[in-house]
């Protein structure tokens, strides 16, 4: 038995910024929600259930914010579900929302994810409520050094990813960082944060939200008939693996390989490098791009950095990665994963605007969390059978 089809018919996001002091939590999520509903030509009345994702509640100091946000999200009288799977949460939110539709329980579901980092101290929370946290950059640096040592990649690869994603962000009206004069020299000259990661190779802290409207096959077909192409969810998967132990490889995590295999098998993807037209990968620090290219089978082991070096992953290259500017340009943590999934959907809908990848028919959205332990991925297509 295969699950019934699910379509993405609406996508919305906020203008991501360091501090959105102009809006409350409720105002922030509504900004994304109403853009998604407008995109879907729907109102809150069309929504049967809401799924909310965000990273730890300690980031903002609001416990179980789905309770407070029930009014803002129009969820009164409806099911309201709350997901939290570390940094992968935005992706898992989309997958759980899709599951609501696939189970036949709800027809149209709103997936929402947000973070308002300015109202709290994420570094404090990342240190489990203690001071002197290593932060995410410190946690990932050893994995990056191991990747460089294994692959023999030259040090400019990280700088190139940082420049590419910031150039892409200039084409995305919602992106947080807009560094007009970004260059290899500028990245190279920025302060060293966590060897080998420099300041401009790191993600910002953002306030922002993302919302996605998912519906059943009839809803997707209706949108298509009305001239609003949906993105069809071809396959999805969430996989997790335990914290550290000697047999675990955080540079090439088994959970990432398995997550990719789940999606490719279910979607009928046998040659991801050629069958996938673009991918939105969760890259909060520049070197994660080659690491995830390899773990998700978009490059052979040890070869991911070469796709960065030869321009394959640039907008206009053969396999654009993070055409939106990615997490390196906007990082409302809980929403960052859903943004990857939403941007992938917009690409196959032909709705990505200035950062549209020409002719994108199949796209990958991916998010990860904790110490390279939680992985969520979906493949979306401009049709349900893009390889026929």
């Amino acid at each position: 038995m295969s699950a019934p089809p699910v379509a993405v018919v609406g996508v919305g996001q906020t203008h991501h910024k360091s501090r959105r002091l102009d809006v409350s939590f409720g105002g922030l999520v509504r900004e994304a929600v109403f853009r998604a509903l407008d995109d879907a030509q729907m109102t809150l009345d069309d929504i049967d259930a809401v799924v909310l994702g965000k990273a730890p509640d300690l980031f903002e100091g609001v416990m179980k914010p789905e309770l407070y946000l029930s009014d803002a999200l129009g969820a009164v009288g409806k099911p309201m579900f709350r997901v939290h799977t570390a940094g992968s949460v935005g992706g898992t939110t989309a997958i759980v929302a899709a599951s609501h539709v696939q189970a036949g329980k709800h027809r149209t579901v709103l997936a929402v994810a947000f973070e308002k980092q300015s109202e709290g101290n994420a570094q404090f929370a990342l240190g489990s409520g203690k001071g002197a946290s290593l932060g995410a950059g410190g946690a990932f640096a050893p994995f990056i050094r191991a990747y460089i040592q294994r692959s023999g990649a030259p040090e400019h690869i990280g700088w190139k990813v940082a420049v590419k994603d910031r150039l892409n962000a200039l084409k995305n009206p919602y992106a947080h960082l807009k560094i007009e004069d970004i260059s290899i020299e500028k990245v190279k000259a920025s302060p060293m944060m966590w060897e080998p990661t420099r300041f401009l190779e790191s993600c910002p802290s953002s306030d922002g939200a993302c919302a996605v409207v998912l519906t059943d096959e009839a809803g997707g077909l209706a949108a298509a008939a009305a001239g609003r192409p949906p993105a069809w969810v071809l396959a999805s998967s969430s996989r997790s693996e335990p914290p550290s132990f000697p047999g675990r490889d955080p540079v090439r995590p088994a959970a990432a390989l398995q997550c990719a295999a789940d999606v490719y098998t279910a979607a009928g993807i046998t040659d991801p490098r050629r069958q996938i037209d673009m991918a939105e990968l969760y890259v909060p620090f520049s070197w994660l791009e080659p690491i995830w290219l390899e773990a998700f089978g978009l490059a052979d082991e040890g070869e991911g950095w070469k796709l960065v070096d030869d321009g394959t992953t640039e907008l206009g290259g053969a396999l654009p990665i993070n055409a939106s500017g990615g997490v390196l340009s906007s990082n409302p943590i809980g929403a960052s994963g859903l943004l990857r999934f939403a941007e992938a959907a917009n690409q196959v809908r032909g709705a990505a605007g200035e950062h549209q990848v020409d002719g994108a028919k199949v796209a990958l959205g991916m998010a990860y969390g904790a110490n390279n332990q939680y992985f969520s991925t979906w493949a979306v297509g401009s049709s349900l059978h893009p390889f026929d």
Binding site: F81, R82, S99, S240, Q258, Q373
Partner: protein, 342 residues
């Protein structure tokens, strides 16, 4: 929307001892509960296709607290896995949806919490609207007392009937001496409020054929729904629970009588309100387990209700209702209907 067609059943569950305080970590508690649920079924962790854990960082006292619980589920090789910042009853809801996709057969869901390590009066105000309600610092007792007053004013309860709920649930004390005690927050006395409990619960779900292979009498989930309400209690009719009513209707409660109901009523008046909203007559046995008034392992309390309802089916019962809740004054409510088949 048509109801999901795949048979999904609860086939087993287990809890740690429910205690006032334990020094064991949440991961240790879950290790014990999951092994306890799997072993009698002849299953091990390798048989689990999907896991969904329910817990709360603020109860545990640290961000990403659920990450270390991956050790308890034995996520190696890596598991299809999810986590909800909700009671394990909602983790069950996610697994129930996931199993209906048809590609996998067995799921384990958990709820866990060690609320003894924190002060509810300090923690719970943080789940309120951060701009208008959290700054008041009102604790859960205060909100519960407001609702108890509304329930009493509506004639659905009085202090005596609330004390009777306490005596029946805990199996100790007598009503007259309880009513002679002082108030904690009028009209609530100590017997009207839940204990602090540490513990974890794990539950095993399976799709139809697999369930029937593994156990003689699966507890089929035939109705499952949850709804939320407006957050601010002052904008709600506190002598009613419309979200419970909608969830029960969507879960098909009215289709046939239930013999038992397990309600997550942490305060005595909540049981009386929920009975009324759900239309449960005197012939329905409510909270034979003692309910949340006897053991209240936050984030597992709702999942325990479903477990006790499943026990009724395992023991030969026909139909049982389980309820879970979240938020101030029963803001969000879940109803699960379990049935046995000949």
């Amino acid at each position: 929307m048509t109801a999901p067609s795949t048979d999904i059943a609860v086939i087993g569950w287990a809890s740690t001892p429910m205690v006032r305080h334990t020094d064991k970590s949440e991961t240790q508690l879950l290790l014990e509960a999951i092994t306890g649920a799997l072993t009698p079924l002849g299953l091990d962790r390798g048989d689990i296709d999907f896991t969904c854990l329910g817990s709360c960082d603020y109860i545990t006292g640290q961000a990403f607290s659920f990450v270390s619980n991956l050790d308890a589920i034995g996520a190696w090789p890596p598991k299809r896995d999810s986590h909800v910042e909700m009671d394990g009853a909602w983790a069950l809801y996610e697994a129930w949806l996931r199993l209906q996709e048809g590609d996998i057969d067995i799921a384990v869901v958990t709820g866990s919490g060690r609320s003894s390590t924190g002060d509810p009066a300090l923690i719970y105000p943080m789940e309120m609207d951060p701009y208008f309600l959290a700054p008041l610092g009102a604790d859960p007792l205060t909100f519960a007392a407001l609702q108890a007053r509304a329930v009493i004013a509506a004639g659905l309860a009085d202090e005596r009937s609330m004390a009777e709920v306490a005596v029946r649930s805990r199996g100790t004390g007598d009503v007259d001496s309880l009513l002679a005690e002082d108030y904690l927050r009028q009209p609530l006395r100590r017997h009207d409020v839940p204990p602090i409990t540490d513990g974890a619960t794990a539950m095993v779900l399976a799709t139809g054929d697999r369930a029937r292979q593994l156990v003689e009498r699966p507890a089929y989930i035939t109705g499952f729904d949850h709804r939320t309400e407006c957050h601010n209690p002052s904008f709600r009719a506190l002598d009613d629970s419309p979200s419970t009513r909608i969830a029960a209707e969507a879960a098909g409660l009215a289709d046939a009588p239930v013999e038992v109901a397990e309600l997550q009523a942490a305060f005595t008046h909540e049981e009386l309100l929920l009975r009324s909203v759900l239309g449960l007559g005197d012939d329905v046995v409510v909270n034979a387990s003692g309910g949340a008034l006897r053991e209240n392992p936050i984030m597992a309390t709702g999942l325990c209700r479903i477990g006790h309802a499943a026990d009724h089916i395992f023991g030969g019962g026909q139909r049982a209702l389980a309820h879970s809740t979240s938020g101030p004054c029963l803001q969000q409510n879940l109803v699960c209907i379990l049935e046995g088949r000949p």
